[in-house]
């Protein structure tokens, strides 16, 4: 769920955190403020992850590699829909869910 601040300078986005990343956040769900440059430019997944890294330094590089690609065993859901595109825009009430995908056995 997102909420706009009074001046609409930032959108507050709720992000669900998988257990491998909770050493950074300490909690299963956090809210991050994502700068909004203009009303017609809604926050993107990439913007959310940048804001997340600002609040919890180092977390982004564990999710996204140096070529701005999602790491192989990480999945992102925006409003319940899977995406690998960091340019995906968030609707006003969307939340971001980071998932450490099943791998290995």
């Amino acid at each position: 769920m997102t909420a706009r601040s009074s001046r609409e300078a930032a959108a507050v986005v709720r992000v669900k955190i998988p257990t491998p990343l909770r050493s950074y956040t300490g909690q299963a769900e956090v809210a991050v403020a994502v700068p909004v440059l203009a009303p017609e430019l809604p926050p993107t997944v990439g913007g959310v992850l940048a804001a997340l890294d600002g609040a919890y330094p180092g977390i982004r590089f564990r999710i996204i590699d140096e070529q701005r690609q999602l790491r192989p065993h990480i999945r992102l859901f925006v409003g319940g829909r899977l995406t690998r595109d960091l340019a995906t825009s968030l609707t006003s009430d969307a939340e971001v869910m980071i998932v450490a995908a099943l791998s290995g056995g």
Partner: protein, 380 residues
Amino acid sequence: MPRTKVAARSTPARRIRLLIATRKGLWTLTSDIARNGWKLAGPQFLGHIVHHAICDPRDGKTLLAAARTGHLGPTVFRSTDAGKTWKEATRPPAFAEGSGRVVDHTFWLTPGHASEPGVWYAGTSPQGLFRSADAGATWEGVAGFNAHPQRKAWCGDDQDGTPDGAKLHSILIDPRDRAHMYLGMSSGGVFESVDGGADWRPLNKGVRADFIPAPAPEFGHDPHCVRFAGANPDRLYQQNHCGIYRIDRPSDTWQDIGASMPKSVGDVGFPVAVHPRDPESMWVFPMDGTSVWPRTAPGGRPAVYRSRDGGKTWKRQDQGLPKSQAWWTVKRQAMTTDLRDPMGLYFGTTSGEIWGTRDEGRTFRCLARHLPHIFALEAW
């Protein structure tokens, strides 16, 4: 930023400590100076794949650990209080954006020259060389290697190489000259720089590369581990995919010293360890490199082989080790020595055991067991 704390414990003023990097975290094993009793502590970073952890000999309290998990990207953790607390690097080793290359894991860590406190080097998979000037907090690619016009010719594509990724390892800094460096690549060979990493040249003459059609390739070799001979940085020993070698600089040709190993054991293995004071003394841990490369102790009978004459002759040392049905081996970073006299030799196995000797290999005993697959072992 993750921090891991362990309960404070009294540490003897004089002790031997082993840092054990494993497939599932980091442990430490500590003894009194007589090396009689050993106490295991940990885990730290439980669930992390820790490829290497090492103490900075320049201050005796800074530790770096290269870690990742199955899901998350690679990072480096740093401790400035001998492992009590850890902080994550703010900029871990990563290739330049736009290069198309992605660090899968940091594999090797080397403290820099004594004259450059805070300088560290890291080797990665895929093969890249990185440098930190702030004790591991931030890392920059060494452009002289990573952007060298011949790098791709030397190393091949990042998808080439060994099954779990080609690795840049064995970063050696000449103790007499900080600009003089060597490195090893599991897909490329041994390379030397005399200008602090600005340029590199292959140093593989005399080394076999049976898996390459060319009879004597200049590069493309597979060194598994390269070490300076103790007390003589003009000599290096190399355990290679294709034998055991030594070189005495300024010669640029390696001598095959594995040819004198028993034929029934062979000259394949991962680690090589050196005596800290005797450049003629070194140890290897042979493994089965026949047929499909089982990578186990030959015949299920593990042993180290010691040479006291620079590789001319070898002696099997297995007193105390299992006599049969022991099908483990020792990875390239998992055999190390202490500085005591007589010297202690230690190795960690793929089956999670630590074995040690305090009489330079005459008798071994098991110091810890039931650990995860051990990648690296460092004494400090």
